[in-house]
Amino acid sequence: MKLDFKNIVDEYNGILYKIARSYTTEEADFKDLYQEMLIQLWQSFERFKGEAKVSTWIYRVSLNTALTFQKKQKKQFSTNPIDNVSYKIVEMSGVGEEVIFQKEKKIELLYKCVNLLKKDDRAIILLHLEEKKYDEIAEIIGITVSHVGVKLMRIKKQLFQLLKEQGYGRI
């Protein structure tokens, strides 16, 4: 069981990272949420009987955890914005440092803007950015496909607006 679980996390850890980044802005909160998602996945792993795709199960459990996650009370001197400690893109062959720097800046900006959206909107745009189809998003969230379409149109407009305001074009 331990080995199966570890293999799943090895393969799908990207989902946990992206969700945790989308729902937190402080390093401590990010780490807490990442761990809480691991705990919830481990606890529900026993009950997961493969009735859905593994990735669907991970999105469902992790998004539930993120949506109900309570951030730590901010203490004046102990906050550390996650941008300052962002986990660096590992070496890419043939790509210059400047290019990597630009990419990292764009990623930070995208997460920053996603973080400004409402909690429920973040879940939907996140799944869209993960290239999930409308019916998959509807299945994970539990709303109709047409509802996903309507919501996504509004959320994308809002996200583009936020990106513009935050200076996306200037990067």
Partner: protein, 203 residues
């Protein structure tokens, strides 16, 4: 800026995810098996703590008042109250496990229902338990001070005692709900309700 630009940028953050995962990979299993710090687990722990406190109070009572003239009456009352208030912790844990997990909306709705029911039950439970503890304490204090229980039943003493007790119980209940239950139940219930309304776009 095009939509596919954003999806490409999003994909690139996978590199950061890998980098973070590498830093925690050796302890992933240990992390997964730690105790949850989520609000629902906090509630569960709180209910267990309440029951444990009841048992601790009973032990304390047993140790100090075993030779008291009303010991068995009081000890029996406290024991029944303690047992009755221990059952919810067990039931709550079972209900949490039974929350549907087919999708996010169903889970949030399930958690909302479990918490709302628990809050209602806690309020009723406190309405019954607080006066019982208060009356037991009152009788023990009164008789412990060398006065007979018949003396307590005299109107001159009984009426003011009842009035003061009612005020104290109301005050205690109000304080408990204002500071304790609000953070434990009402705030998360409101947040879950808002989340559900937003997901389903209800007003």
């Amino acid at each position: 800026m095009e939509e596919f630009d954003l999806q490409d940028i999003w994909k690139e953050s996978h590199e950061q995810a890998k980098s973070y995962y590498q830093s925690i990979e050796p302890e992933v299993l240990d992390m997964a098996r730690k105790k949850s710090k989520g609000i629902l687990n906090k509630l569960k722990r709180n209910l267990i703590a309440d029951s444990s406190m009841g048992i601790a109070m009973w032990v304390f009572f047993f140790y100090y008042f075993w030779d008291h003239q009303y010991f068995w009456l009081m000890a029996g009352t406290l024991l029944i109250v303690t047992i009755l208030s221990s059952i919810p912790a067990y039931k709550f844990s079972k209900k949490l496990k039974a929350v549907p997990t087919q999708n996010v909306v169903k889970s949030i709705r399930g958690y909302h229902e479990v918490l709302s029911t628990e809050l209602r039950k806690t309020k009723s439970r406190m309405t019954i338990v607080l006066p019982i503890f208060f009356i037991v304490g009152l009788i023990m204090g009164f008789t412990g001070a060398g006065r007979g229980i018949i003396e307590l039943l005299q109107w001159k003493i009984l009426i003011p005692t009842i009035l003061i007790s009612i005020l104290a119980i109301i005050g205690l209940r109000w304080l408990t709900f204002k500071f304790h239950m609000f953070h434990l139940y009402e705030k998360p219930i409101d947040e879950l309700k808002k989340l559900l309304d937003d997901l389903l776009e209800r007003d």
